[in-house]
Symmetry: C2
Subunit: 222 residues, 2 copies
Amino acid sequence: MKTKDRIVQASIELFNAKGERNVTTNHIASHLSISPGNLYYHFRNKEEIIRNIFTKYADHMQVSFEPVKPSQDPVKILTNYLDAVFSALYHFNFLYDNLPVIMARDPELKSQYLDIHNKMMDKIHQLVVSLEVANVIKMDADDIEDFANIIKQQVTFWISYCKTSREDTQITTEMIYHGLLKVLLLFKPYVTQEYREPVREITAHYTALANGESSEQGQPDV
Amino acid sequence: MKTKDRIVQASIELFNAKGERNVTTNHIASHLSISPGNLYYHFRNKEEIIRNIFTKYADHMQVSFEPVKPSQDPVKILTNYLDAVFSALYHFNFLYDNLPVIMARDPELKSQYLDIHNKMMDKIHQLVVSLEVANVIKMDADDIEDFANIIKQQVTFWISYCKTSREDTQITTEMIYHGLLKVLLLFKPYVTQEYREPVREITAHYTALANGESSEQGQPDV
DNA sequence: GTCTATAAATAGATAGAC
DNA sequence: GTCTATCTATTTATAGAC
């Protein structure tokens, strides 16, 4: 692997493990057993590394949040979304831990973020509309926009919420699955009589994962 | 006012206006036209200033979140809560902008925060139960705990969500009122037929405030 | 491309005079 | 209690040799 790619890869790992604010460019260099000068040959500064990681993140999001096909099984639409959320939170958790700070200090990154944010908002909106069309949920049309924002906020700051409201700040897959269950609870009161049972089954599935019981399908891929 | 109190007061104002991470002890001192040495005579370090502010914040929370009296008008219970949330978000917005970072670097403060967090969770729990008892909402008993956590997360990270998802990061009263409306939307699907109209009226009230229309009761007190 | 050595920039904090 | 002057530590970033 090229040095440039190794720097990006190591940065993701170190940021996720120790928190972005606790990892300096020197830490990254020494972790890779290269010199700081070498690192600065490949990247002008730390923010350029983060912007590079963010591009990877944005690509990941675009791919994993597949466009909703109306023909799909409506229940599958929902689990696809939740699995994509899980994957993003897990693999890029350092971003979610520190989002306001990271964005406030780098206007260029903030602008990248706003772009992705808007695209994701559209996807969530589509998801909600699809569930409505498939008669899985029933919701006032006026509330869909606000509801989509609530979902987005709940997902985006779940990591932050866990880190602040618990003693133990280690990120685990179980912790993330608990967050997905909160998202399911947001949908719950809108679920139609017809789909109450399928949604209950999805909830049971993620509850098992949240309690550390292994799933028949194992850990999701990247 | 004593110098020590002036330092705390100025710090709150500067932190709220510019963000905690952009305000150094030297900034605080020069804002008050005192020397850094003088500031350090009164506080051992910046974290001690923040802990001092946090104590003020904790007191504010304890007072403004009055214990729920079952005898009260159930609608009043809800507006009391929302007004208390507004006041906290407005007067201590710097804390909400930066919570995970501030708590992660100071274990003593984190422990103070966990204490207040748990107390607030209890209050929210009581609020939900009171609304159930008064027949304002109907909710599965199993969901109350998770629902209370969702409310808490939504409130705590509303400022962060706004700052990351908008171009303009200025905090306004209107922005905060929009957050309260999201909390009302969380309650909405659980509201009983009987209380649909009163809740609609509360929503209209906060919608007016969120749109910058002045309310008959004016800005809430500290 | 990579290294060593070091400069530059902050921010946090202290010593000692008044 | 307050000031001036300064020190230390940290982190980012660059120059120049190999």
